[in-house]
Symmetry: none
Subunit: 213 residues, 4 copies
DNA sequence: TATGAATGAGACTTCATTCAT
DNA sequence: AATGAATGAAGTCTCATTCAT
């Protein structure tokens, strides 16, 4: 809009799709897919309505792109980080939870779980994709670590699949909460403290020595 | 619709609003508020479009009514049940979780958390109402029980507020999951098993003897 | 509503159509035909919505009935009064204007001109009926009196048809005004004074001695 | 509508609102506000339904705009013309009436009085605006001229306020009539002749020499 | 590439009319 | 005769999408 004719301009042009995706993500998360207007997306991205359609076939394609483009790099990064970890299973769990939270608690990804939860019913394909690509893969990391810990005697014997979900549930809960009720009602919610408490209680709860019934 | 003159008229006026609310709740939960058409609500409730407007001023009023009418009786019942409980703090926590799940896990209320999470951004008033009337009140029950248990030496000293959230997070997570990704992606999710595991791990995790670090 | 079982009841029953017509007239005049709801008519008449349809086939029939039932008796009365008048043409004009105003200035008929003006475009049949049955007949009374006065040398020679309209225009204007802008804007409008001034100026204006150019 | 690619796009944006206003005015005058559908307005203006909403927030705003945009320039012009007039009070009255009729008798403004009369009850704000901005201002012109004429001995002493209304009443009457009953009933109404007769009778009626009682 | 005026399908909502009671 | 719950056609308005510029 006025700032033509330089390398700056070229750079911006290339960045357009990403800027649009960012705008769309923010609005989809805040208001939901159906309640978000393409006008708003365009305005927030600093382009005109028509421009959005140069890069995305339609609103649904924009949603898909938002989800997919966000998920792919995040996953790659995530699994790489995990692969490089060493140490006790307990330390690994600690690291997984911290990393997961560092990645999903803030930043662009943080709204994704809320978005997917809200739109799963209307976009089953996308929900399946998210479920397979993200949720299950992440859960597998936890589950394997738990199984390792059980095998090594660090953790007491337990249902590793359920426990993996348990490890993640508060993380998902926190990220959803932050983008929904925490904004408009439940203001005294401190995600960091909550995640710390989770780590503490969860690790105690699965400790091999802990089941002193 | 042609099929007059049967039992349609008998169904007394008094039942209509509830039937419409049920239909609306189901659809709002499944598709979200904005993506639900009033026609659908009407059709699912077995009435015509106009009839909905005999009982609810507009779509938003219907949403409010759905939430409020559902929440009020549930809350009354919930607190009554809790008040009648006796025994150790650990038993009380067990009972609270079971009851909460019995109430919110199935039946009409089960979709409410997902609905509120999805619509909080668009209906902040309603979100605040829900947060105060439901979430905080429920959390207070957990928090007091935890404080009692700590005082009695059953539980190790911990941040009772955060722990109360931790106790509830998997419950909320499970009910949200069941109405979103569990429907369209994550099919191997068994809420009952998950809740059991939560009870087990959580109680171990806060046990006074457990933190044998 | 509740006051059954007596002669009073019978009387009311017979009066129903008229009560409904009165209610309808008042609302049609105030808000116009299209903006008046049958509910309002019913409520103002103190009956239920369905009852209106016992007496009038539909909304348009109600309008027709309102106009026709009001016009017929008024006309009969008007012409009778006029037929009985004697004296100079000037006195007759005075009497006609006074009577017209007495009849149309207040009471149930007073809103009719505004109503007909507003709805003429949507109900040409009715407009034609009103035009023929009321406006033209009334104008003929004036016109004949003017012609008489001219013939008798009381009034100067002039276009009696146009003058008849001139005699009526302020009357019509006043009754329309009272039911429109006088209600919501032009509050310092005193119809009586206005009509008096009209009589005075008009009679001077057509006086045989007056055109002393 | 299929016929793209021609001169439709050229017609510059700036003209659209006026075209829509013209279409709306014609229909509002003919059928009344409530009975006019936005589709009709759009079709008559040669645009689609949605386009109307690009320029006017809603139906009521369109009505307001129609009235206000029409009134403002007309008033400016009217008062300018009057200010430039010289001569006897009688000539000024003659000029005022002729001008008023030239302006309101034909053209876009001619329907306004009928429209305002019909809708005053439903839009009191607008009625007040019209009453203050148009009716009263116009009447003041007449009233001052009459007062001048009385002071100068041209006119006999009379209630100048009432007489100002009398001067205008036939004009208003004629413009209302033309857009209502004259269309559908009273076909032998010749406004020009009527206005001429009014001028003649009114001036005679207020002439200083005329009250030869 | 980018724009934004224009479109029209489709949503919400109203209300004249019907009909079982 | 009277009611008022129910209906559904029709109206207002929105917004995803297109396309001339």
């Amino acid at each position: 809009m006025g700032e033509h004719g330089s390398g700056r301009w070229q750079r911006r042009k290339a960045a357009r799709p990403d800027e649009i995706r960012d705008a769309a993500l923010a609005l989809f998360v805040e208001k939901g897919f159906a309640a978000t207007r393409m006008d708003e997306v365009a305005r927030r991205a600093g382009v005109s309505k028509g421009t959005v359609y140069l890069y995305f076939e339609n609103k649904e394609a924009l949603l898909r792109s938002v989800v997919e483009e966000l998920v792919e790099p995040a996953l790659a990064q995530a699994e790489a980080q995990v692969a490089g970890h060493h140490g006790s299973a307990r330390d690994l769990i600690r690291a997984l939870i911290s990393q997961w939270w560092a990645m999903v608690g803030h930043g662009r990804l943080s709204g994704l779980p809320k978005l997917m939860v809200a739109e799963a019913g209307n976009f089953p394909e996308l929900a399946r994709y998210f479920s397979e690509k993200v949720v299950k893969r992440a859960r597998r990391l936890f589950q394997r670590t738990l199984e390792l810990g059980i095998a090594q005697g660090e953790f007491r014997p337990l249902d590793a699949a359920a426990a993996a979900r348990l490890a993640m549930a508060p993380l998902v809960y926190a990220s959803i909460w932050r983008h929904s009720l925490a904004c408009c009602g439940d203001e005294d919610f401190d995600p960091e403290r909550f995640i710390q408490a989770h780590l503490d209680v969860f690790l105690s709860g699965i400790d091999a020595a802990g089941a002193c019934e």
